[in-house]
Symmetry: C2
Subunit: 581 residues, 2 copies
C-alpha cells in the first residue's frame, strides 16, 4: 500500500494506519477497515446528491413577486349585474389593494366557470411585478376554484449546451423540492454552440433546436412535478439561466449574429413572457424570466454564477469559472470584473466521449491505476455496476494515466506497456477501464485516443482562459486569492488530479472551492428574491467582456496548455515534484 | 297617378307636376320626366355607398397612439458589441424619447435580420399607449427594413350577430380607404345570440363559433387589403365593436352566463391583446382593442353608437336605436342615459327571410304595390336584376302590403285577392314580389307568411323597447326630441313606411335621422382619437341598464306591437289618417 497524499489526515491518523482511499494504491493483498464515520459521510453525500439544497439565505415570501390570494365574492344578482372580471377585480382591490390588475385572454376565458365551480370562492395566482415592470401593475396568472393556498410552485432552470437542469421550488417555504437533469436534446444537432448556430440558420433549424431543448426541459419538468405529485400547470414561474446561444434558441430568437464578426447577440436581456409563447411545460400563463447575459459568449449562466458563487462577498481577488461546454470565467474583486469564454467542449460533461455519461447512478466518478500492473480500481456512483465514466471520472482517469505513464505529456497512449488494458481499438489506441464482466452493459468500458484528445482540449481551453484573463489585467494566476468552480460535475472533482492534468492552476487546495451548478443555483436565488434578481443585472453591467474570438493570444495559450500538465512546467511545481519524486 | 305624400316638395313643385317617385302610385300609362338634379343625386348616392366616409372631426395623427418612426443605427463593431435590441432601444430613446419601449418575442425574433436587411436603417411601428396603460410604456409592434413611412394601416370592425363590417383606415390621413361587409359566418349555428350561446357551451362549440366569425372577418380584411394592394400584415391595430355575446365569441370567452339568471357577462371591457392570440388576420402583434360594453344585452355596439351618433352633442332628449339582430337602444340627454335591448331577430338584415339578402348590388331596396292590381314596382341597388330583398326593401314591402290590404292588421295574407302574386306556397301563403323572368336567379322572389311573422316580431320588439324605455323614466315617446337610428341597413329606410308598419314612432320625419352603421363608425372614431376612445368608456359608465329578461312588461308591450301599425292606433295618427283617408 502506497499513500500518495495525506492531505486531510493528521499525523496521528497516519500513525494509526489511516489512509485516504482515493490517494492510496494497493500493491498487495490488504485488509481494509472502513471507519464508521466514513460510511455515514458517504451516505450523506449520496442523499445530498439526490435532493436537499439548503436555502441560500433566510427566505421571506414577500421578497419575491409571486403570490396566491383567496377571495370570496358576493354572487351576482339582478341588483348587481357587475361582470365576472370587474367583480373579481373589485374584491382584489378592496381586500388586497391589487389595483389595476391585468389578465390575459386565456385566464379571462376560464374565469366564469372557475368562479361558479368554486361557488364564488377562488384562489388567484398573481405576479405583482417583474424586473421590467417593477411598479406593476400586477398580472393575474391563474384562477382556481376554492381555497388552494398550500403551495406555490416555480422552477429554476439552467440550459447548458450539453446538460439541462431543473429545480422545482415551493415558494411558500422557498425550498428546492425536486432536482432533475439530463442531456440537452439539441446535442444531436451539434456538440457545441457554433454548429448549433449554423444549424439554426438553415431551413427550420431554429424551430427544430427550440423544439429539442423544449422536449428535454418539459420531460424534466414532468419528472420533477411527478416526484411531488403535482401537475406542471401548477408551476407558475420559471427563472432561466444559460449561455447566450442557449437562451436565444430557447426563446426562438435567431442566434446567427453571435458567431459572425463582431460577435453580438440579438438580445442580452430578454423581456419576461408567458410560457405558452414557447411551449414550456409550466402553466401557460406563468412568466418565463430569462436572466440577462453580457455578451455572445458570456451569458446568463455567468451573471447568475457570479452572483450565486458569492465571489462578490469576500473582497478577495477571485477567479470564477463555470466549467461547461464553454468554459466561461470571470476574474475580479467586484469593484471590477473581467470575463471571457473558451470553448472547452462537452467532454467534462461526459458527452462526446466513447463511454462518457452524466454524473448519475452507474457513472465511474473516480479511477485509480496501479502504477505497476496498470490495473484499475474505481468508484461508481451509488455503487452500481458501471455504465460509463462521468466528467470527474474522466479527469481522474486522465491524471492517473499520465502519472502512471500510460500516456505521455502529449496524451499519446503507450501501446508497449505490459497490460491487456492498453490495446489498438477500432479507432486507434485505447485503454480499458472496466472489463465487460464488471459492467452493466456487459461490454468493456474504455477511453480512446480521441477521447483523450478531447479531454486535453477541454482542459487546455480552460487553463488558457485563466492565463489570458489574469494577463489582461497585468496579473498572474498566482495573484488569485480564491478559485471558485461551478459546473454540474464540479462538486465531485478531485482537485489534486485536476491540477495534475493542468486543468486547474497549481494552488493550495483550500483556496479552491467547488460549488456545483452555480448557474441553476443563481436562477434559484433570483427566483427567491427581487434583490438577487437585480444583483444579476448589476453583475452583468459590471463585467468587462474580453472577446477571445478576435484575439490570437488565446491560441498561443491554448497550444501551450495542450501538454500534461503544461508546456511551462514551472507553473505546476507540485506536479513536477510528484513526477520527479 | 296618385301622390301619397308631398313631403320635401314645395307647393310650387306640386303645381309644376312634380311627384315623389317613391310616394306615387302609377294608375295608368304615364310619361315621367326625371329632372337632371335627381339623376346626379342618385349617382352620388351610389358612389357614397361604395366608399367615401367623411372624417368625423379634424384628424391629427398625434390624437391616437399608433406611430411609425424611421431610425438609422450605428452598426455594431468590436468596439461596440451592444446587442441588437439594446442598440435599437438606445436610438429610439435618444431620437424619439421612447424610453423603456417593450417588445414581444415575435418582434425580437425578426429584429436581427431586419436590422441587417435594412443596413441598420429601419422603420419601427410603435403603440405609445392603450386605454389601460395610458402612461405607456410604448410597445414595439413591428420593425421593417428601411424607411417605410408612407402609410399606417388600421381597421375598425363591427361584429354584428348577422352582419360584420370592416373599415380599413390609413392613420396617416385618418380616412377610410376601404369598406367591406358580409354575413357573420356564425349564422349557420343560430340566427340570434341565444342559440349561439347554447351552441358555444357544448363540446368545442365556442372554438367553432370563434373560428367562424374569424373566417368572415379575415375574408373581409383580405378583401379590404387587396383593394388597397397591401398585405394584411401591414394592418397594425383593430378597434372592435359588437354586442357582448359577439365580443365574447370573438375573444373566445365563454358567453354562457349571459343567458342565465342574473344575465351577466364574463367581462364587459376586454383588455387589449395582440391579434395573434385569436388569429385575426392583421399583423400578429397588432393590438386588438375591443370597445367596452355595459351589460349582457347592451354591448360595445351601443356605447360605440351612443358616441358616434352624437346624441350627447345636442342636449335634447334623444332616443338612439341600433337596429340589428338585437334592437339595442338608449334614451336620455347625456346627463342621464337609460338603455335596453330587445331581440328583433335578423329579418331586417335580410337573414332568416326566404329571399332576404344584405343591402348590396341586386337587392330590392324599395317596393311599391299598386293598390288595385297588386302589381309591384321596385328599386334594385345598382339597378341590377334583383337577387333578393334587403332590410329596407322588406320594411317597404311590409308597409305596402299592409296599406294595399294584401295583409291585414295581424299580418295574415289575403289569399282571396284577384292576383296571381298571392298564392299558397310550399310553406303557406306567400306574395310574389318579382317573377322569375325578372330576377337574376330565374326564380320567383317572394315573401312568405313566415317571413311576415318574422318581420312583425322584429318591428314589434323594437317598438316595445321604445315604449318601455320611455315609460321607465316616466315619459312617453312623444317627449322624445330626436330619434337617431343606427344599423347597417338604416340609411336607406323609408321613414314613412317604417312608421306605417309601427316600427318607428309616428313623429315628424325631420326628427328622425338615419346614421348608418353607428357601431363601426364609433369604432372608427375611437381608432382616430384617444379622447373618443375615452368617451366610449364614459358613455358605458353613464348608461343605466334596464334588464328586460326579468321584466314581464316587455311581453305585454311586444304583444301590443304585434299588430300593424299597433294595437293602440292612437299612437299612429298619421297611419290612421292614411288608412281612413
Amino acid at each position: 500500500m502506497r499513500r500518495r497524499s495525506t492531505a486531510h489526515l493528521s499525523p496521528e491518523d497516519v500513525a494509526g494506519g489511516y489512509a485516504l482511499a482515493c490517494q492510496t494504491s494497493v500493491e498487495e493483498d490488504v485488509v481494509i477497515l472502513i471507519p464508521p464515520q466514513e460510511k455515514i459521510e458517504r451516505r450523506l453525500r449520496e442523499s445530498k446528491r439526490a435532493a436537499k439544497v439548503e436555502l441560500p439565505f433566510p427566505y421571506d415570501l414577500h421578497d419575491q413577486p409571486l403570490r396566491k390570494f383567496a377571495v370570496t365574492l358576493e354572487p351576482p344578482s339582478l341588483q348587481d349585474q357587475t361582470d365576472d372580471w370587474s367583480r373579481l377585480r373589485r374584491e382584489l382591490a378592496r381586500r388586497y389593494a391589487l389595483e389595476e390588475i391585468q389578465a390575459s385572454l386565456p385566464v379571462l376565458r376560464k374565469l366564469g366557470s372557475v368562479l361558479r365551480e368554486g361557488d364564488w370562492t377562488v384562489t388567484v395566482v398573481v405576479e405583482l411585478d417583474t424586473w421590467d415592470r417593477t411598479a406593476g401593475p400586477a398580472r393575474l396568472i391563474d384562477v382556481l376554484p376554492g381555497e388552494r393556498l398550500e403551495s406555490l410552485w416555480a422552477v429554476a432552470i439552467d440550459i447548458g449546451t450539453t446538460t439541462n437542469h431543473v429545480w422545482l421550488v415551493d415558494l411558500i417555504g422557498g425550498e428546492v423540492m425536486a432536482q432533475k437533469a439530463d442531456y440537452n436534446g439539441q446535442i444531436v444537432r451539434g456538440a457545441e454552440v457554433i454548429p448549433r448556430i449554423i444549424y439554426a440558420s438553415k431551413g427550420n433549424g431554429l424551430e427544430e433546436l427550440q423544439g429539442l431543448v423544449m422536449e428535454t426541459l418539459n420531460r424534466l419538468l414532468k419528472q420533477a412535478a411527478a416526484e411531488r405529485s403535482i401537475s406542471t400547470d401548477e408551476i407558475y414561474k420559471a427563472v432561466v439561466a444559460g449561455n447566450s446561444t442557449m437562451i436565444h434558441l430557447f426563446a426562438g430568437i435567431p442566434p446567427e449574429s453571435i458567431r459572425l464578426m463582431p460577435f453580438i447577440t440579438a438580445i442580452n436581456q430578454v423581456p419576461p413572457f408567458p410560457a405558452r409563447e414557447i411551449g414550456l411545460a409550466i402553466n401557460a400563463e406563468g412568466t418565463v424570466d430569462c436572466l440577462p447575459g453580457v455578451a455572445s459568449y458570456v451569458g446568463a449562466d455567468i451573471t447568475s454564477g457570479v452572483v450565486s458563487s458569492g465571489m462578490c462577498d469576500t473582497g478577495e481577488l477571485t477567479l470564477f469559472v463555470d466549467i461547461g461546454t464553454n468554459g466561461e470565467m470571470a476574474l475580479g474583486d467586484c469593484t471590477w470584473l473581467i470575463s471571457c469564454a473558451c470553448s472547452a467542449g462537452p467532454a467534462f460533461e461526459g458527452a462526446g466521449v466513447a463511454h462518457g455519461m452524466r454524473a448519475t447512478a452507474g457513472a465511474i466518478e473516480e479511477v485509480w491505476v496501479n502504477p505497476e500492473t496498470y490495473e484499475t480500481t474505481y468508484r461508481v456512483i451509488l455503487d452500481e455496476k458501471p455504465k460509463g465514466i462521468c466528467g470527474s471520472g474522466l479527469i481522474s482517469l486522465l491524471a492517473e494515466m499520465f502519472i502512471t505513464g500510460i500516456i505521455d505529456k502529449s496524451g499519446n497512449i503507450d501501446l508497449n506497456l505490459p497490460t491487456k488494458r492498453v490495446r489498438e481499438g477500432e479507432h486507434g489506441p485505447e485503454y480499458v477501464v472496466a472489463w465487460a464482466d464488471e459492467t452493466a452493459s456487459g461490454e468493456d468500458i474504455f477511453v480512446t485516443a480521441v477521447d483523450i484528445d478531447n479531454l486535453m482540449r477541454a482542459k487546455a481551453a480552460i487553463y488558457a482562459g485563466f492565463s489570458i484573463l489574469a494577463r489582461s489585467v497585468g496579473l498572474t494566476i498566482g495573484d488569485v486569492g480564491q478559485l471558485l468552480i461551478g459546473g454540474a460535475f464540479g462538486q465531485y472533482i478531485n482537485v489534486e488530479k485536476a491540477i495534475q492534468i493542468g486543468m486547474l492552476p497549481d494552488m493550495p487546495y483550500d483556496k479552491i472551492h467547488f460549488l456545483g451548478n452555480t448557474s441553476v443555483r443563481g436562477a434559484y436565488m433570483a427566483l427567491l428574491s427581487r434583490e438577487v434578481r437585480q444583483r444579476v443585472v448589476e453583475a452583468g453591467q459590471m463585467i468587462t467582456y474580453l472577446e477571445l474570438s478576435a484575439d490570437n493570444t488565446f491560441f498561443d495559450e491554448f497550444n501551450a496548455a495542450m501538454f500534461l500538465p503544461h508546456t511551462d512546467e514551472i507553473q505546476f511545481p507540485s506536479v513536477k515534484a510528484l513526477l520527479e519524486g
